[in-house]
């Protein structure tokens, strides 16, 4: 492998960091240069991520492109990166949403420099989580991804933004601290002869020795679960999420709902299920119960919202219920579907927030009652919105359909009731999405909006087209990504299933 290829992950990770540093040095008045740097950095990561997607060896599976640099040896910390099929899909998702977000953010007018610096910092954190194979750095990047959101929402947001952003940051930090205590207990649990944060070494120890005793796994797993499920967000820890989405500026909502929430489910699969398979086998049935609340309750609340961003926000927690159901199913099909849905939902919800952000910039309201007939003035955005809604409600042809189907088929065997509720949740989803399309986009045009302007330039249209194209591409031809995800999911799920079989 060429050095470039060997360090592809570090390159992906460093690109947004470097962009943040460069942006620091650019004078704040040179707005166009700043935007260009942000977009170019995002484009580079996207190209690298697509390349990674193609060169990852699905036959060999396992962690690839690993590299390790001792960082603080006396404390057992090493900078170690590597990806398996799950992480590759997540890296691809992050880079696409980052690119779309950077393009959408060209409409930001105030403190452009600070905005792009924070966006780049947030993305660095997210990439870091997805590629880290060291628990210290995993946590480091996890926290790094949470805090920039505070300022992104607090300054550029709308509505009750100060309350929303504080709630979001404190919730996520509280979750992170719980997870940290769990991680440190895991570190000192004597899994390896000398304590280490090296995820690969810990994983080997679990495979070789069968892991910790059942009792310890059953104590540690809920700590990690609660910590990471806060960001997932699992009911009843979800209440930060809809108001956070609603208050955030477009690009922040996109990153947030599109990518940040996926950190939680990813961490549950990557760390909790991998290192504590027996704990997972004992506790995942509880997740299957709680996720029904996500699906039904989240969907029901979404039906009653008047603000479009709240509709999409609650629909996100409803969709995350399917992800959690897939994870809880302990079947390769269901969990692969969950990861695929993380990808598909990330793209779809980013598209939703980008489109809402586009007209909100002009209307300054997202209240369904104030809108109406927007299709007449915004045909391009409107058509894309309808397609987004179709994707979201699970129309075949979009990636969401394929992934939700995988989740439901995968979970049927173990949790038939939850699966039936999940199918019912799709009907609720169709209700609020179609209601939103009807009220905001169809019907007579509210005369207030006679002067609205549609997305006309390529620059304005490109983020929407990128996202929609991705959804359609993987909707019609899901095989490459499903193969990829399955190669990563299979060993983890099989270990949990084996643990469950052994534990009775």
């Amino acid at each position: 492998m060429s050095p470039f290829q060997a360090h592809i992950l570090s390159n992906i990770l460093l690109t947004p960091m470097l962009a943040a540093v460069v942006l620091f040095l650019v004078p704040a008045a040179r707005v166009n240069a700043i935007r260009a740097i942000g977009v170019v950095a995002a484009a580079i990561t996207t190209v690298l991520a697509i390349w990674l997607f193609f060169v990852y060896d699905r036959q060999a599976a396992g962690f690839q492109f690993t590299s390790k640099v001792p960082w603080v040896p006396s404390l057992g910390i090493a900078y170690q990166v590597g990806v398996d099929g799950i992480s590759v899909a997540m890296v691809l998702l992050t880079s696409i949403v980052f690119l779309a977000g950077a393009l959408v953010s060209c409409s930001v007018q105030t403190r452009v420099k600070d905005f792009y610096i924070l966006l780049a910092a947030l993305v660095s954190g997210v990439f870091g989580v997805f590629v880290s194979l060291d628990l210290f750095f995993f946590y480091f990047f996890y926290e790094l991804a949470v805090v920039p959101m505070y300022l992104l929402i607090g300054y550029w947001g709308s509505g009750d933004k100060e309350y929303a952003t504080m709630k979001l940051t404190l919730y996520l930090t509280a979750g992170a601290v719980v997870a940290l205590i769990g991680l440190l207990l895991l570190y000192f649990s004597g899994l390896t002869p000398t304590p280490t944060f090296d995820l690969l070494e810990l994983k080997r120890a679990v495979e070789a020795t069968g892991g910790l005793s059942l009792a310890r796994q059953q104590v540690l797993f809920p700590l990690l679960l609660v910590g990471f499920a806060t960001i997932a967000p699992m009911w009843p820890l979800h209440s930060w999420s809809p108001i956070g989405h609603a208050a955030a500026p477009a690009a922040a909502s996109m990153m947030h709902a599109g990518v940040l929430m996926k950190l939680g489910s990813y961490a549950i699969i990557r760390i909790a299920m991998t290192l504590l398979p027996q704990g997972a086998a004992s506790w995942l049935p509880l997740v299957a119960v709680l996720c029904c609340f996500n699906i039904i309750y989240g969907g029901y609340v979404a039906m009653n919202q008047k603000d479009m961003k709240f509709v999409v926000g609650y629909s996100s927690s409803s969709h995350m219920g399917y992800v959690l159901l897939g994870i809880a199913s302990i079947s390769v099909l269901g969990t692969s579907g969950a990861v695929f849905l993380m990808f598909a939902h990330g793209i779809m919800t980013a598209l939703a927030f980008a489109l809402i952000g586009f007209f909100y910039d002009q209307t300054h309201t997202r209240m369904l009652g104030d809108l109406g007939g927007l299709m007449e003035k915004l045909p391009f955005v409107g058509v894309l919105f309808v397609m987004m809604a179709m994707a979201s409600l699970g129309l075949p042809g979009f990636a969401n359909f394929a992934s939700e189907l995988m989740v439901l088929v995968g979970s049927w065997e173990r949790y038939p009731i939850a699966t039936i509720l999940g199918v019912f949740g799709l009907v609720i989803g169709a209700t609020y999405l179609l209601r939103m399309v009807k009220t905001a986009w169809l019907g007579p045009l509210n005369p207030r909006w006679a002067s609205l302007r549609d997305a006309s330039t390529l620059l304005e249209r490109s983020p929407f087209l990128i996202l929609l194209g991705t959804l359609l591409l993987f909707g019609f031809y899901p095989l490459p990504i499903v193969d990829l995800i399955q190669s990563g999911v299979a060993p983890i799920v099989q270990a949990v299933a084996a643990a469950q079989g052994a534990g009775g």
């Binding site: 704040a28 960082w71 603080v72 040896p73 006396s74 404390l75 403190r111 600070d114 210290f136 946590y139 480091f140 990047f141 926290e143 790094l144 805090v147 505070y150 300022l151 607090g154 300054y155 100060e162 504080m166 940051t169 404190l170 930090t173 509280a174 601290v177 719980v178 940290l180 205590i181 440190l184 207990l185 570190y187 000192f188």
Partner: protein, 499 residues
């Protein structure tokens, strides 16, 4: 016995500081001669050069192996006869703190620059007293017996009394000075009384002999326990641990801001260095029984500091409460009684130094026009001066423990050390809750800067030196947060020399 050359070897930095202080007085006396532009400027310049030279010297010094070697010998032989030095030690731990105190002194000197025009008189004496205080602090890093400990502590405390009441025109400053004197005297009384009990119980003043008396002679006598407890109380005042924290908010608020910074970093670290000596050098293995006491103090400090900081409306009081909370973290690491804990404390103090210096410098600049430090002085700071707002944001986030800043790694090290001790799990959980609470109030400061309109549109001048210092603090917070290895290793050497 120790001959003079050995004494000079251990205390070379202190000797140099003493010479520097006398030199500053001499320079001040030259004011009538007309050769110097102004006595205060000349004194300040001399103090700068002197402290920089001494810091350079301190960085060149290498720690003595004798202490550690003697320690190893003692551990092997089970007796304390091998300890050579009774007057002081220059181990890696002492050297770490000497460098720390000299850096702090330089920072405070730099902080007093933009504050100077608010000092009515005694501008030349201020750096002189600062050097004397630093002398006391460096002395305490090497201290190896209770008598020197008391002398050094009095030197630090008395000079700080004077500095905290440096603005006689301001009732608050007088109040701060008086409160500090009374509480300081109380703390000193506890300490000296405790020392007397320790001496009465063991017949020794030097740490090694007391340690031997504690660890070799079966269970500790009540008199000895009382004495040590009183010493802990006396030092508890210094670090501002609850319930000995009552003086902190008023004294912090009333003192001139550079002095507040000195109190919050230097004076607190003095308490920490002595507590560490007490726990590791004097108590030694017997310290395990004291873990619960330290953990209790830590829990109270975490609760009081973090919850008390929430309603504060004055930046300096706010930083005072936040300092109480940080004392709680340091005590938590101390309660682990492990080398990882000691390592974490040293790293924590370094992170705290850079974050707090940056914060106080911003406080000085924003409170210049109104001469008060009400929280609304930072409202809209991001519009008035993006650089200051950025620097204060970095300071606040580092104090809150957010990556990629040094404060994050420091907190992480403390938690790592504490989780290793199963009996401290309750404290870890409490501190976890308090981390979230602390993030709330630090974010509130950031909220004021970025999301509130400015109260005052006056120009904020940041002089060249202040700008560089602020930039340095920001860079240090980021560097030590991302690339921790060099500082961790240095701290580890210091921590290891205690065991």
């Amino acid at each position: 016995m120790m001959d003079n050359s050995q004494l000079l070897h251990v205390y070379s930095i202190e000797a140099a500081l003493g010479v520097l202080a006398l030199l500053l007085i001499a320079v001040d006396l030259l004011k009538g001669r007309g050769r110097l532009t102004g006595p205060a400027d000349a004194v300040r310049a001399t103090a700068w050069l002197g402290l920089l030279a001494i810091l350079a010297w301190a960085c060149r010094l290498t720690p003595d192996a004798t202490h550690a070697a003697a320690h190893a010998g003692r551990a092997g032989a089970g007796s304390i006869g091998a300890v050579a030095s009774t007057v002081g030690t220059l181990d890696a731990f002492a050297l770490w703190f000497k460098r720390f105190f000299l850096t702090t002194a330089l920072f405070v000197l730099a902080l007093s620059g933009p504050y100077e025009h608010r000092l009515p008189a005694g501008r030349a004496e201020f750096p002189t007293l600062l050097v004397f205080t630093t002398l006391g602090m460096c002395l305490l890093s090497s201290v190896n017996d209770f008598v020197t400990l008391f002398v050094g502590l009095e030197l630090v405390t008395i000079t700080l009394f004077l500095m905290s009441a440096w603005r006689p025109g301001l009732p608050r400053s007088i109040e701060a000075g008086i409160k500090f004197v009374i509480i300081g005297a109380l703390a000193a009384a506890f300490l000296v009384y405790g020392i007397a009990w320790v001496y009465g119980a063991t017949g020794h003043f030097d740490f090694a002999s007391v340690r031997a008396a504690i660890n070799d002679a079966g269970p500790m006598s009540a008199a000895l326990k009382l004495g040590l407890l009183l010493v802990v109380v006396g030092l508890g005042f210094k670090i501002g641990a609850v319930p000995f924290h009552v003086w902190i908010p008023d004294v912090y608020q009333g003192s001139p801001t550079p002095v507040t910074a000195f109190l919050s970093v230097g004076s607190k670290a003095v308490g920490v260095v002595l507590l560490m000596r007490l726990v590791y050098s004097v108590l030694g293995p017997a310290a395990a029984a004291w873990g619960l006491l330290l953990a209790g103090l830590s829990a109270l400090s975490l609760l009081m500091g973090n919850l008390g900081a929430i309603p504060q409306q004055d930046l300096k009081r706010f930083l005072g409460y936040s300092g109480i909370a940080h004392a709680g973290f340091v005590l938590m690491a101390l309660a682990t009684h492990s080398i990882d804990g000691a390592n974490a404390i040293l790293y924590y103090l370094a992170a705290y130094l850079f974050a707090n210096t940056g914060a106080f410098l911003v406080v000085i600049v924003v409170s210049r026009t109104a001469d008060n430090s009400h929280m609304d002085r930072v409202d809209g700071l991001a519009d008035r001066s993006p650089f200051l707002a950025f620097a204060l944001t970095v300071s606040m986030l580092s104090l809150a423990g957010v990556p990629p800043l040094a404060g994050f790694f420091a907190k992480w090290m403390v938690l790592r050390a504490a989780v290793a001790q199963p009996e401290l799990l309750w404290l870890v959980v409490l501190s976890g809750v308090m981390i979230v609470v602390s993030l709330y109030y630090y974010l509130c400061v950031i909220k004021r800067m970025y999301m509130r309109p400015a109260q005052d549109s006056g120009v904020l001048e940041v002089s060249g030196l202040s700008r560089w210092l602020l930039l340095g603090c920001v860079l240090a917070s980021v560097t030590f947060g991302l690339w921790q290895q060099p500082l961790v290793e240095l701290a580890r050497q210091g921590a290891a020399s205690l065991f």
